[in-house]
């Protein structure tokens, strides 16, 4: 049983609730104990660091301080939280003045952070702690040749990825193929989906997404698999907007890696939140059910 301190991140309680469900379902089968960090709050996130440096580091630092008490690695499935928490940790190490300010603030609220927490993304854990061989053993209903475009997005591998290439990441390939699925070429696999610009500068984000969907479809993908709540929301929920804006007809389900994994483990769809996907994956998955079960 591997134990970790677990930081779901805000999205997993709402827009990406399916991610939260599938992560829990899958980790149970893989004997990963994810102990949810008590009283965790927002990671601080990009918007906050654009608003106020000190506050954003404090807010992220608070979660780090809580995690430090558990003595466990802090795992999050959310790429944005992952990069934000890592950023705060490295900022606190790189900038002494910031560190002293933050510790002053923390003292006043009975917190302390010594910089001992290792922030890790779920993908890192699956790849390097659980390891693909073990995951493969748990596959009961392999997909047969489901063609998947692995979408990494940005913040899983940038600015500083400890476990994959920042521009040509490979880590998902192995994790997807062991499920019996096929990985299609996807040149834009680590290009940006527009992130939060979808809210403030919708046109910009939507045109970025169009390129991604185009690249995925033209390379023969039947669905996109991602590990970032925001990427999934953008590509899934806003796919219709792309279609209406550019007169396209993309119909690409966008699944979380853990949803795909859960299916292969034989977990029933409801428990993986498949009903939460706006672009329904039902049809595509059905085509591969023949060979399954």
């Amino acid at each position: 049983m591997k134990r970790y301190s677990y930081f779901p991140g805000c999205s997993l309680t709402a827009t990406a609730v399916a991610y939260g469900l599938s992560v829990e379902a899958v980790s149970e089968i893989l004997a990963i104990e994810l102990a949810e960090l008590e009283d965790w709050t927002c990671c601080g996130s990009t918007p906050y660091s654009c608003f106020d440096e000190l506050e954003s580091v404090c807010i992220a630092g608070r979660n780090l301080a809580l995690a430090e008490k558990t003595g466990l690695d802090l795992v999050t499935p959310c790429s944005a939280c992952y990069s934000t928490l890592k950023r705060a940790d490295s900022h606190l190490k790189a900038y002494p003045e910031l560190r002293s300010q933050v510790s002053e603030i923390f003292q006043a609220t009975g917190l302390e952070y010594q910089g001992k927490v290792k922030v890790r993304h779920l993908v890192d854990v699956l790849l390097n702690d659980v390891r693909p061989e073990e995951i493969e053993d748990k596959v009961v209903i392999p997909f047969d040749g489901l063609r998947v475009a692995p979408y990494y997005g940005c913040q899983l591998v940038r600015p500083d990825s400890s476990f994959d290439d920042p521009e040509y990441p490979q880590s998902l390939t192995r994790l997807i193929t062991i499920l019996g699925a096929e990985v299609t070429p996807f040149p834009l696999r680590s290009r940006c989906c527009g992130g939060t610009l979808i809210i403030s500068e919708t046109d910009v984000a939507v045109s970025m997404m169009r390129e991604l969907l185009e690249s995925a479809q033209s390379n023969g993908a039947e669905c996109i698999v991602t590990v970032c709540p925001l990427c999934q929301t953008n590509l899934d929920v806003y796919q219709g907007m792309v279609n209406s804006k550019f007169k396209t007809s993309y119909d690409l389900p966008v699944l979380f890696l853990t949803q795909l994994m859960g299916m292969a483990f034989g977990i029933e769809p409801g428990a993986l939140g498949l009903d939460r996907n706006v672009v329904s994956p039902g049809k595509v998955l059905a085509q591969h059910v023949a060979a399954r079960a």
Binding site: V17, S45, C50, E55, C58, R62, L98, Q155, P159, E201
Partner: protein, 192 residues
Amino acid sequence: MANQAYQVTVEEDGFVDEVCSVPGGECVNWCVQCGMCAASCPSVSWMDHSPRKMIALIRAERRQDVLASNSMGFCASCYLCTVRCPKGVKVTELMHVLESLAVRHGVTNGRTATPAMHRAFVESVKSDGRIHEFGFMRRFYLKTNPLAALKMIPLGLKMFSHGRLPLRAKKAGGTDQLRAIVKKAEALGGAK
């Protein structure tokens, strides 16, 4: 002299120092103006000034031109510029730094809604400890562009019907401590 025209618009000195004083800002001194960041940026075509030019303007002490530009508002934080920069400039970080400076100086830009979105986000975090997407989006749209809010209704419904948009916010356990921290940070010179 030809560059007199520029001299007129040169702001009072100290902007470079100010940028450098914020964690992540010091890297403006390393830039060689090669434009790798600009050519790697997915949203550069929407920006008033490319990231490279932003650094040039900073070095020219053009505070107003920098802080009033929409460039930060179009940064998607994809960090492609950062990993490619041949001089190790953390361009994305810099964009965040500049936006926070704009907030501090109360400089706003009419042509990007991103800062308003960020503010709405921050307010949501401060009130509930976690981000409550529905509340935050509603707050944002109503503040910036109620019409857009209307356009968003079908989309919101779509998410709602898929159980992805809880309407009521749940206050997170750590909220009070978080607020205390923020208060202290503000006292220490964080943005109001």
